[in-house]
């Protein structure tokens, strides 16, 4: 094993620095048309009339599409089927697609869009989830999608977790702290907006090229909306310019719209969103309200928690039930809690449907659980790292949902290592000294520990599988195909390392093909920090099978095993000459999981990753502005297959966490998002980023994982934002209870 763990350069790097990586908008097909989407300008209303006659007479417009043109089912299938591809009767959010047009060029498409005339009867709208739950509130949810309709017509889902006896737990506590925490929207702000090209093919088939995380979701959605068998729909992922969950479910919608136009036009159709459209009309992180009560003994030991949280799901279900589920199972943090009561609700409102975003329903409850740990420490006069250390899960412990942890629990090590690397005690003293000598500035230090259930877990265990296709070419080079995607995280580097290491070949002798649904079986989505783990296992399975055949062939040729890598071309040639099968398929599925929806207990995930971050901030007391001075990030994601790409995930996650906690804000008024692209949505620039964060991995190996690897992608953001928020609270000596901690909010907190 030589390549595993090394900092091997990414196979996609050269194309990207040369500007030759082909993103969807860089592609064109003969006769390709350009699409625009006609969207609802109001949050709730009845569609009275759709008049596209002037659009159709534009000389450069090729065709328009309304719900009558949908050949299959007029839905965008995600988990439920409540979201129409095109609204046909009622619109439920600003930006909801109502009709489509395709024109010969982009400018004409834009011109023609302004010629559409849609009349609506405006209906009362509700955009606040707590208001949407009140009796008499305007009804948002399609009834079949409101699992909680007996309680409220807008209650999409309610999930509970009950363990032990919460009442008794609080009775045993020496201190009890309570808090309410709110977080706002976070927009993914991937640098490449959403986009897809639909190309009608021979024999009644269609191909979708797109910027996406989940090729098999898109395949299913397009087949449904066009009324085609799955075999007629091929999805090819193009280079994807960032995703962060934003390209989990939304591309199913984007591709469906492009496909509807292409199907009618019988020509290739490109649909690429502009930035303003993307920010206004695609999913975001669920705004939340979390109420949290925690009890602990004098020594800091947690005795009970009670959590009630509400997520604003927006107008349609999309992924909200899964997001809520992860929130439920993350709300206790990486701690031992004997008595637990957690109650989560996702609520329909007349706003853009919210969906997946790095952390997937966990960052909201993490802000709460980490704030609570600090409140307990303060009340008990304990050190904040120490209270986390005392309660941290260890091998043999039971999680809040009753799962006994058998192996690979590195949270304690992350806390201890973060203490050392941050020079915690010295830093606290240095900060105090700084504050004593600076009347208008305050520094603070925060810490945050998190756990993350890797993979999709018991919410959708049928998705935790992956395939791989591996072929020995006649010259000894190797072709590899997988079903999970590169979106910047470094998956192709990790998988290439695994394959090349096992076959003993150089990285440049392996070609990883673009992800294509016709090449490998459904490998589930590239989400939930599962790509490297699941596809890594599938590649290992394929490599094992191919190696066995290579060994056979080399025996026949009298080539000793140690000479195989150097003489692979000879062996490959013998496969060709002797008509041996040079291709294999690998397959992997996750370890079994189980979960009881009645109690909320079980073994919902097969393994967990962990992290502890320490952040230091400086607050300008006059302006309320915050600067992130330093960050120490220690992660347990099992074996790290590529140090370079893994560190990159952590560094990027810190800055995205900074955005969530501090700089990124979307105001909403009467169902309208007050945002205009990057002009008003401020993601961190280099001026906001910490100069040189410290990143370290402790590797609590997960034995079923590839070389002991677990998952990493989402965890850095999850830990970072809370450490930053807690550092701000520490700096200003005030409670901090709502994101983003904008200068205005910080000034308000200071004045309180």
């Amino acid at each position: 094993m030589t390549l595993i763990g090394a900092g091997v350069p990414r196979p996609d790097a050269a194309d990207k620095v040369r500007g030759e990586a082909r993103f969807v908008d860089d592609l064109a097909f003969p006769g390709m048309l350009h699409a625009r989407v006609i969207r609802s300008p109001i949050p709730h209303g009845r569609i009275l009339r759709v008049d596209l006659s002037r659009v159709a007479t534009h000389p450069r417009v090729h065709c328009t599409v309304t719900p009558d043109d949908v050949p299959g089912e007029n839905v965008v299938h995600v988990i439920y089927d409540d979201q129409p591809a095109l609204a046909s009767d009622v619109v439920r959010y600003v930006g909801e697609p109502v009709a489509l047009l395709a024109a010969e060029d982009r400018e004409s498409a834009r011109e023609a869009e302004t010629l559409a005339r849609v009349d609506y009867e405006a209906l009362p709208a509700v955009s606040d989830p707590l208001e949407a739950l009140r009796p008499g509130a305007p009804v948002v949810a399609v009834p079949a999608a409101a699992e909680g309709r007996d309680e409220s017509p807008n209650l999409f889902n309610r999930m509970r977790l009950v363990k032990g006896d919460v009442k008794r737990g609080f009775a045993e506590a020496d201190v009890i702290v309570e808090g309410e925490y709110r977080t706002g929207y976070q927009e993914h702000a991937y640098l490449e907006t959403q986009g897809a090209i639909a190309v009608p093919e021979e024999q009644g088939a269609i191909t979708i090229y797109g910027s996406l995380q989940c090729p098999f979701y898109v395949q299913g959605a397009v087949a449904k909306v066009l009324g085609l068998p799955l075999a007629k729909v091929r999805v090819v992922q193009t280079a994807t310019g960032g995703a962060f969950g934003g390209k989990e479910d939304v591309p199913s919608q984007v591709a469906s719209l492009a496909a509807l136009l292409a199907w009618k036009a019988r020509r290739a159709v490109k649909l690429v969103y502009d930035r303003e459209e993307d920010v206004l009309t695609t999913s975001k992180r669920h705004p939340s309200v979390v109420r949290y009560k925690s009890g602990a003994k004098k020594d800091g030991t947690l005795t009970a928690i009670e959590v009630d949280f509400v997520y604003n799901a927006g107008a349609y279900q999309t992924l909200s039930s899964a997001v809520l589920w992860r929130g439920l199972l993350t709300a206790a943090g990486p701690y031992r809690v004997p008595n637990v009561g957690i109650d989560g609700r996702s609520v329909a409102t007349h706003t853009v449907p919210n969906g997946a975003f790095r952390g997937f329903g966990s960052p909201q409850v993490i802000f709460a659980h980490e704030s609570q740990m600090d409140s307990l420490a303060e009340r008990l006069g304990m050190d904040r790292l120490e209270i986390r250390r005392r309660n941290a899960l260890r091998v043999g412990d039971e999680t809040a949902c009753g799962q006994k942890l058998k192996e690979s629990v590195g949270v304690l090590e992350t806390i201890e290592r973060a203490r050392e690397l941050s020079r915690w005690e010295d830093r606290l003293r240095a900060v105090a000294a700084f504050n004593a000598s600076h009347p208008h500035r305050r520094r603070g230090v925060g810490v945050s520990s998190v756990l993350y259930g890797v993979g999709l877990g018991a919410k959708s265990p049928f998705l935790d599988k992956a395939g791989a296709y591996l072929k020995l070419e006649a010259d000894g080079s190797v072709t590899l195909a997988v079903g999970t995607v590169e979106m910047g995280q470094g998956l192709t580097a990790a998988l290439s390392q695994i394959a090349c290491d096992a076959l003993g070949i150089r990285i440049d002798r392996l070609q990883l093909t673009p992800v294509d649904t016709t090449r490998v079986p459904d490998s589930g989505p590239t989400v939930a920090s599962r790509g490297t783990l699941m596809s890594g296992l599938a590649v290992l399975d394929a490599v094992k099978k191919l190696r066995a055949r290579i060994l056979d062939a080399s025996n026949g040729l009298g080539i000793p095993e140690e000479e195989i890598p150097a003489r692979l071309n000879e062996i490959a040639r013998s496969f060709f000459l002797r008509n041996l099968d040079p291709a294999v398929e690998g397959w992997a599925h996750a370890e079994p999981v189980d979960w009881d929806p009645e109690t909320g207990l079980g073994n919902p995930y097969f393994v967990y990753s962990y992290a502890t971050h320490v952040a230091e901030v400086e607050v300008d007391l006059t302006t309320g502005e915050i600067s992130l001075e330093d960050c120490v990030a220690v992660h347990d994601s099992g074996k790290i297959l590529n140090q370079g790409t893994a560190s990159g995930q952590v560094e990027g996650g810190i800055v995205q966490g900074l955005g969530f906690a501090v700089t990124e804000e979307i105001a909403e008024k009467d169902g309208r998002l007050k945002v205009k692209g990057f002009t008003t949505y401020r993601i961190p620039t280099i001026r906001d980023a910490p100069p040189s964060p410290t990143v370290e991995f402790v590797e609590a190996l997960y034995s079923p994982g590839p070389f002991g690897a677990k998952g990493l992608g989402e965890v850095p953001l999850m830990a970072a934002h809370a450490a930053i928020a807690r550092a701000i609270a520490h700096a200003i000596g005030k409670a901090v209870s709502a994101y983003p901690l904008s200068p205005e909010r910080v000034r308000q907190a200071l004045a309180s």
Binding site: A14, V17, R18, G19, Y190, G242, G653, Q656, T685
Partner: protein, 159 residues
């Protein structure tokens, strides 16, 4: 539609074209010359993904009209290295792990190139200043600064 004749140099090659007044330099590069390295990330000059050099200075090509390029010299990421090779700057981006999704990368490289042309020995603060208009959502920026710092040194050492 009135078309305007323009003549300009792009990556050392002279180009002649007739373009509508409203066509941006970015559209001209991407759609007429098939130089798709420069990206449209926002169309409003906010993200820097479309950065190219105009007479040696970085500009956001989505805010420059193609007609404004008349008589001038444009450099894009495609002109950074010859044939299939890599420039010192490009290699530094790879070696420092400054690339993730790669969508901001061409703009970052051109902002960095603009800096290094003006200043062969930039301080970290000058590097930060040079790419303050280039958004990256993946890397957290640290690796990008390291790459530019490294490229500056290696380019100086070669002289």
């Amino acid at each position: 539609m009135t078309l305007h004749p323009i003549r300009l140099t792009v990556n050392g090659k002279s180009e002649e074209a007739s373009v509508p007044a409203a066509m941006t330099l970015l559209e001209f590069l991407r759609e007429r010359l098939y130089l798709t390295g420069a990206k449209e990330g926002c169309g409003a000059g906010e993200c820097g993904a479309c950065t190219v050099l105009l007479d040696g200075l970085p500009v956001t090509a989505c805010l420059v009209l193609a007609v404004e390029g008349d008589g001038r010299e444009v450099r894009t990421v495609e002109g950074e290295a010859k044939a299939t090779g890599l420039s010192v700057l490009q290699r530094a981006f790879i070696e420092e792990g400054a690339i993730q999704c790669g969508f901001c990368t061409p703009g970052m490289i051109m902002s960095a190139r603009g800096l290094l042309e003006r200043n062969s020995n930039p301080t970290d603060a000058e590097i930060v200043e040079a790419i303050a208009g280039n958004l990256c959502r993946c890397t957290g920026y640290e690796a990008i600064v390291a790459a530019i710092r490294r490229a500056a040194k290696e380019e100086r050492d070669r002289r």
